[in-house]
């Protein structure tokens, strides 16, 4: 049921037309992947997590960095 509702929302957002494998070359670009530079993302998240009061719920584990 939940998945059906989710699917409906996604169809409304983007349509249900298939995106075939041969149409995904642009999607495979490094520029389209949020995970292509994990060290850069992690360092940024860690830096902001030590300086802003709401950054804790952003995927960072542990901490204790005194650099506040």
């Amino acid at each position: 049921m939940t998945r059906a509702a989710l699917l409906l929302v996604l169809c409304l957002l983007g349509g249900c037309a298939p995106v075939h494998a041969w149409q995904r070359s642009t999607l495979a670009s490094r520029c389209m992947s949020p995970d292509s530079r994990p060290s850069e993302s992690r360092a940024r998240s860690h830096m902001l997590g030590a300086r802003e009061g709401s950054s804790g719920a952003s995927g960072e584990v542990g901490g204790g960095c005194g650099c506040k």
């Binding site: 989710l6 349509g15 298939p18 670009s29 520029c31 994990p38 360092a43 860690h46």
Partner: protein, 363 residues
């Protein structure tokens, strides 16, 4: 077997080991509040079978500070310290569409110990058009003062649950939706900070900070990545945060990237704006009836009303085959971070410069 090795250039050093992937990275932060942090990172990843990878990492924060937090502590003086962190884990893909990743993440410094565990499950369906993820994290931490015996330190336990979705809207666009709830229980104030409380017209007492023992945090983030063409890419996102201490925040970010020569060169610019309201028990100045204290009191500027801007340029160059590597990539990034505190008297704001350097190679 195709091997990937990622190298980083840290002052010219690089590492590559046989059938492994190695990553190294360095980030340097320096602000006008006399705080400098240099953070090197080194990680190794080994493919042990078609379905299993193992990985390990080391990171550090080398901190040198004489910031306003230090000066408002009980014994104001500058300090230097090093935070060390390790990570060890495994990634298992029992099917093409299913991934499990488990990591153990200990870290330590002179006044903090952390033992974290994270589990990520990812499942792709709708012909890999939709990816569901669930991240579960727990962390058992100990907090104290440098030089104190650890038996006098305090506990801080953290549990987080984060479901997220990533969906291919069309051949040019990917959207994502992520939610995270995090519960923290234990010692959440600084062991060093003291709060001035005014008892009468002329009497002010300085007492240790006191925060609630529980904090439940919620964050909801929406993101979209869109290819304008095969070489121009846009990204944007919004994140809303709210917690049981009354802190709310809004974060918006946007970026643009340009890929040239079959992604041999990528340049980009991105910017982020952030605003947060103050915690319900936070006050710039505290006053109380003589002989009493506010139940909760804080001198933490991270709980005050603030806003910030972060903007940066990045560049990435593929150098092609170098030595035994099939392809080497070098990346550099530079950011400016401007933060303003609207209800924190000792410091109006700070400006920081952040520099990151790395390189990668594939084998």
């Amino acid at each position: 077997m195709r091997l990937q090795v990622t190298l980083a250039l840290l002052f010219g050093a690089s590492t590559a080991l046989g059938d492994s992937r190695a990553t190294a990275f360095v980030s340097a932060y320096s602000d006008d509040d006399d705080l400098t942090v240099v953070s090197p990172e080194l990680s190794l990843k080994q493919e042990v079978s078609d379905r299993v990878d193992v990985e390990a990492a080391y990171e550090a924060d080398i901190i040198s500070a004489a910031s306003v937090d230090v000066m408002t502590a009980a014994s104001p003086r500058g300090y230097s310290e090093v935070r060390h962190g390790l990570a060890a884990g495994a990634i298992w893909k029992p099917e093409r569409e299913i991934t499990f990743a488990l990591k153990y993440l200990p870290s330590w410094e002179t006044d903090y110990r952390s033992h974290g565990l994270s589990l990520r499950t990812a499942y792709e369906w709708l012909e890999r058009r939709l990816e569901e993820r669930l991240d579960v994290r727990v962390s058992f931490d100990r907090v104290g003062r440098a030089g104190e015996p650890e038996s006098e330190w305090h506990d801080l336990d953290i549990v987080a649950l984060g479901p997220s979705l990533s969906y291919v809207l069309d051949r040019w666009t990917v959207a994502s939706l992520a939610y995270e709830v995090q519960a923290q229980r234990g010692f959440q104030q600084s062991a060093y900070r003291f709060v001035p409380v005014r008892w009468s017209g002329t009497t002010t007492v300085s007492v240790p900070e006191e925060h609630p023992r529980w904090r439940v945090r919620h964050a909801l983030a929406l993101g979209v990545r869109h290819a304008l063409s095969r070489s121009w890419f846009l990204s944007g996102g919004y994140r809303h945060y709210r917690d049981s201490w009354g802190v709310t925040s809004h974060t918006a970010d946007a970026g643009i990237q340009h890929a040239m020569n079959h992604e041999r060169v990528i340049v980009g610019f991105d910017a982020r704006g952030y605003y947060q309201g103050e915690a319900s028990f936070y006050a710039e100045r505290y006053a109380a009836t003589p002989g009493t204290l506010p139940t909760y009191r804080s001198r933490d500027k991270m709980l005050s009303e603030s806003w910030s801007l972060l903007a940066g340029l990045r560049g990435e160059v593929g150098l092609g085959p170098v030595g035994f590597a099939e392809d080497v990539r070098v990346a550099v990034r530079s950011d400016v971070y401007d933060q303003h505190f609207l209800s924190f008297e000792p410091l109006e704001g700070r400006r920081a410069f952040i520099f990151q350097l790395g390189a990668s190679a594939e084998y």
